[in-house]
Amino acid sequence: MSTQMPVTVLTGYLGAGKTTLLNRILTEPHGKKFAVIVNEFGEIGIDNQLVVGADEEIFEMNNGCVCCTVRGDLIRILGGLMKRKGKFDAIIVETTGLADPAPVAQTFFADEDVKRQTKLDAVVTVVDAKHVIERLADKHGHEAADQIGFADVIILNKTDLASEAELAAVEKAIRRINAFAPIHRAERAQVPVDALLDRGAFDLQRILKANPHFLEIDDDHHHHHEHATSFSFQLDKPINLERFQSWMQQVSTIIGTGLLRSKGILDVAGSDKRYVFHGVRMQLQGDVGKPWAQGEQRISQLVFIGRGLDPEALKAGFEACIA
């Protein structure tokens, strides 16, 4: 009974198809029961599920970190749902179209009761293939880009409404913001439920398994400063862990709310095991991972997704952590 309940966070711009996706997850014959936290009642056409309305209350923590905000209503609702554990297998949280995913994600790291009883499984972002480029350019482009930047899984929805050339351009735009989350193309949010649930995207050991080729991406470094972008770095020399940790603290403090996500797998000097970490904004978590195999090439890999990142400074900072 001490196992933590997995929680999937569903984000996406207004009209991208979140509700369609949610209805799909709830009706597919996968034999699982979900508790669903929605931002608006009435949109969900399902009766036989636990559906709870949220109030989107964003609270600041008094811990001196201004960007550390949590969703007070989620703390309350997750606590209430966990009293009924045994009646469902997983929890899905739907956010509003303009919601910043950060307070939702941070709730899972900042509140002791939420942390004890639940675990964030993945942030799933639904993107409208026809309108996303336009959206990224309009006045809410910032929110739309942050939702993509935060994602562990991206559903590129309404592909039937876009041409192949448009889809290729959309995928390129998404990749510029988030180079790492798998993109699933879909019509009417038709995606296999396995692609969305039980991803373990925040599970440090799973990061190792799920990303054997963590950084094999096209490094198409556009300096696109107003929106989120992703950068990755690689070093083949061992890292001094203490120096790395204090540098990461500095980075997250300096970049502040601009830093959305970070992930890394490190070769630490003097250790025969990998060190794995991930961060949501300024909340960083790390742990020792599986050992390096005999003769395996040891490399350290690091990924940042955020706004206003300076890749040269990050590269120099990372290199200064070489032991």
Partner: protein, 345 residues
């Protein structure tokens, strides 16, 4: 108490094991019957004299989220995730008092002399009394409710502070502001202080006469359980590896004074505290399932329940001080009978 055999519940009480989480426990004002509310929807009633047990599903397919003694001598009030407030009467029969569509009733409190019931429903507190129903709005969700000792005021904790409402007259609330999320609230027995437990692992308080703030920080976890023990009282609080007791003596109360810490050593956090209604004794439940009973004057402790069976999620004395009710997240329930212990020792 030193000659008592430990653990108390094993020697002088009874325990039961259920599947579902214990959400709350209560004893009616007559100390005749006890109730445990479970996460699977069941409410179990124990006749404390005869030992007879009855179960009812007061919230249909839903589950109770809070439980309190009713305004009268007997009976209970239970609020649920079905949006219903249910009264369980002296015969153990359930009837609906009120239904709020699509919302959860998360907090319930009652006051016998004033004949009032207060509910926490999302951002509203609902006050039910002889004069009817009032809905009190707040800027954010209700974190906790507490009546003033005479029932003249109701304190409602929320994000950004506490709202104090006069219960007998209309009008807006007096807001006691303090930045942050307030998730528990309690009135001092003399009605002079309002104290809250905060999301950030600290207690906050106000001296009502002049609005003077009090701040007690350093809790490793949220102090969600607060109670007042002894005379002059200590404020007992959960959220640390011992029972943290703040002395409310003199003009300045606990300000500038260190707290008393009792029951530390196990390394586990205290999750629930419950003050004995008549003597200077407080019970504390821990996250590892341990329950102790501590004498605040001698600072001696005895074990009421050994560790195990899950985190303690409910702990309360009967109003006459004879029975101690214990419930855990993993479905353990226990009742210690002090009279049985006296008969033995």
């Amino acid at each position: 108490m030193a000659t008592l055999r430990e653990p108390l519940v094993e020697h002088f009480g009874k325990s039961w094991q259920a599947e579902a989480t214990v959400v709350a426990a209560a004893v009616d004002r007559a100390s005749r019957r006890a109730a445990f509310a479970f996460g699977d929807g069941q409410i179990r009633l124990h006749d404390l004299e005869s030992g007879e047990i009855a179960s009812l599903a007061a919230h249909g397919d839903g589950a109770p989220l809070c439980l309190a003694q009713d305004v009268g001598r007997e009976g209970f009030l239970s609020g649920g995730d079905d949006g219903r407030l249910v009264r369980i009467d002296a015969k153990g029969e359930a009837s609906e008092v009120l239904k709020v569509q699509g919302k959860w009733i998360e907090h319930v409190a009652s006051h016998a002399e004033a004949g009032l019931v207060a509910l926490g429903v999302a951002k509203q507190a609902i006050l039910l009394g002889p004069k009817g129903e009032r809905r009190l709005d707040h800027p954010s969700s209700v974190g906790g409710l507490a009546f003033a000792p005479q029932g003249k005021r109701l304190a409602v904790a929320h994000y950004g502070g506490v709202s104090l409402w006069w219960t007998a007259s209309e009008g807006s609330a007096k807001v006691l502001p303090w930045k942050g999320s307030h998730v528990a609230v309690s009135y001092s027995p003399d009605g002079k202080h309002v104290m809250t437990g905060m999301q950030d692992g600290e207690l906050h308080g106000w001296r009502l006469a002049d609005g003077q703030d009090m701040r007690m920080s350093g809790y490793p976890a949220k102090p969600l359980s607060l109670d007042w023990v002894g005379k002059p009282p200590y404020l007992a609080s959960s959220g640390s590896e011992a029972i943290i007791l703040w002395p409310f003596t003199g003009k300045d109360g606990p300000m500038g004074k260190p707290p008393l810490e009792i029951g530390q050593g196990g390394g586990a956090l205290v999750t629930m505290v419950a003050a004995h209604p008549t003597i200077s004794v407080v019970a504390a439940g821990f996250e590892n399932g341990l329950v102790i009973v501590a004498d605040v004057v001698s600072r001696r402790t005895i074990t009421a329940k050994n560790p195990g069976e899950g985190r303690i999620s409910a702990l309360i004395w009967s109003p006459d001080g004879r029975f101690l009710l214990i419930g855990s997240e993993e479905g353990y329930t226990g009742i210690f009978d002090q009279k049985a212990s006296v008969a033995v020792t």
